[in-house]
Symmetry: C2
Subunit: 336 residues, 2 copies
């Protein structure tokens, strides 16, 4: 164990796209733990798009960070001190920690992360919050039926890549939008998507959809917003379902963005559009975790993580989410 604990703080609230000025790395003491707590050496840290919202001084579903707060996020790591009978030193666990080398977690708030079952980063992706978001968002909000055409934006991301594979397991035709040929190849060649569109190669998404989704769209799982979403809404079939999981296109906007009005497009198809947060499904996380782990173990779901090395590069890893640097889940390796 080090003598000191490097931790990332919110240095200032960003306006528009965050940059290095928004973050400050400080050296603190390694924290003490009290009854029921675990001291965890962070192995991997998760950076996620929703964290941009926590940088704003505005109440939302995730509590805003104050300037001077240590940044929080999902971590996976090794218990190096335990004040709980539930975990021993050397156990690996995952839960809500901090952007830090060492993080204190309550034993009741973590779950085991068995390196025998999956590589540790998977616990931040397919076996973590993004996997569960895909699971409940697609199955509960999207309600995919065999034969449905399912379109996913941000399809090569942590959530989208799992959404598409669960849709395939449910007998759907699956189309992904992603931002590079490497990503679209991954979707169609490795994940079994029926088609994928590199959205940087065209701006005529309606024609692209005519080509890859000639029968229209039954389910749209939206992680992105913007012109892809605008196009998909013109292709919604009768009784279409739209799961609004994320709208990363606007997370750095300081004013309300404008675009084509969509409510008129919902009437003829009687389409349903619903916002989703995975925390609403907490009582069913156990079942989802089990199902996702089975799919991964059977090879029915493929996963991938993009790793940035070193806690000092965590802000870069986070900012890379907005330029689509990641394929699959973006994680930061904090320790070996």
């Amino acid at each position: 164990m080090n003598d000191t604990n490097r931790r990332w703080y919110l240095a200032e609230r960003p306006t528009g796209e965050p940059d290095a000025e928004s973050f400050e790395l400080r050296e603190d003491d390694v924290p003490e733990i009290t009854a029921g707590e675990l001291l965890v050496r962070v192995t991997y840290l998760s950076v996620d798009p929703y964290m941009r919202g926590r940088m704003r001084d505005r109440k939302s579903y995730a509590e805003p960070w104050d300037v001077g707060d240590v940044l929080k996020g999902r971590i996976v790591g090794e218990v190096i001190e335990s004040n709980s009978e539930q975990y021993d030193e050397g156990d690996f666990v995952t839960g809500e920690g901090t952007w830090a080398e060492y993080s204190v977690l309550d034993a009741d708030d973590v779950v085991p992360a068995d390196p025998e079952v999956a590589d540790l980063p998977a616990y931040l992706g397919v076996l973590g919050m993004p996997g569960r978001t895909a699971y409940f968002g697609l199955l509960d909000v999207g309600e995919p039926q065999p034969g449905d055409t399912v379109v996913v934006s941000g399809a090569a991301g942590a959530v989208g890549s799992v959404v598409g594979q669960i849709a395939k397991l449910n007998g759907c035709r699956v189309i992904g939008f992603a931002g590079s040929d490497e990503k679209t190849r991954w979707l169609t060649e490795d994940l079994g998507f029926d088609a994928a569109v590199n959205y940087k190669e065209t701006d005529d998404y309606r024609s692209a959809l005519d080509s890859v989704a000639p029968d229209g769209v039954d389910v749209y799982f939206d992680n992105v917003g913007g012109p892809i979403t605008d196009a998909v809404f013109t292709k919604l079939n009768l009784d279409a379902r739209v799961a609004v999981c994320g709208q990363i296109a606007y997370y750095n906007d300081e004013t309300v963005p404008t675009g084509p009005r969509k409510l008129p497009m919902l009437i003829a198809p009687r389409a349903k559009v619903q916002g989703l947060l995975v925390s609403d499904y907490a009582t069913r996380f156990g079942k989802a975790n089990e199902q996702l782990a089975t799919w991964v173990a059977n090879g029915e779901i493929t996963h991938r993580e993009t790793t940035v090395e070193g806690l000092e590069n965590a802000p870069d890893a986070f900012l890379g989410l907005f330029s689509g640097d990641n394929i699959g889940k973006q994680v930061v390796r904090v320790a070996e």
Copy 2:
């Protein structure tokens, strides 16, 4: 019976707001009927906003009218010749007819309109398609719960005025947006709305909502779109439901209108937005008709119609819908 039958035709497809050039009144022969048909003298004709969509050369939920077609619409009238055992001369019926003095309807496609139960125009409003739209749209899509705040746009219209009253019967707090003081007074003094906003008296609808809906919005029944809707979306409560019934603000637009993007606003409240068409509920029309008739008979639902006199003024009655001339249901009196 007259020797001739005046009927309205689509003379040309309007661009933007229709005007007199879009319509042509012709004198035809009174039609003959065949087996199973009824010749009905039209007493009242319904004009409805959705008809604007039928004037476009674009497939939608209602079949487009071709130039040269007789215009269609719901009518209530008297059977003057019957080729069906189901109805006798002198019976009053309601169904899908034409903008005409005489209309031929299939006996299987009409229902009785008993003048003892309600005045004839009510069969085009609260006891007709608008009433059923309110019933299913609010109850099935809006899912109002006691204590919910329900906001209705176009609240003094044929659908909105019934929506608000059904919401009150379900124990909700009800707020209406309407376009004149006469309308807002009608809503609060006669229909029991808890509050009503004259949207022509302010353009700060967010402040208006803060005042009349301080606890936020649980159900929004939207007939209109535009800036009222934009404001309501900023006030959606957790698990809010939005029923998109109509978007009359845009029906005369020739290009896709733009406005504040709303999908980002759905995530934090996990709001559900759904388009609705009453025809989806056809198997349950009987029950809805019965319930609405009971409410009307008991005085639990108040209704009102705005009557334009004379078939020759039907286009004006239709165009008046877009300037909000009507309070309650807009009908045209074609015969005494």
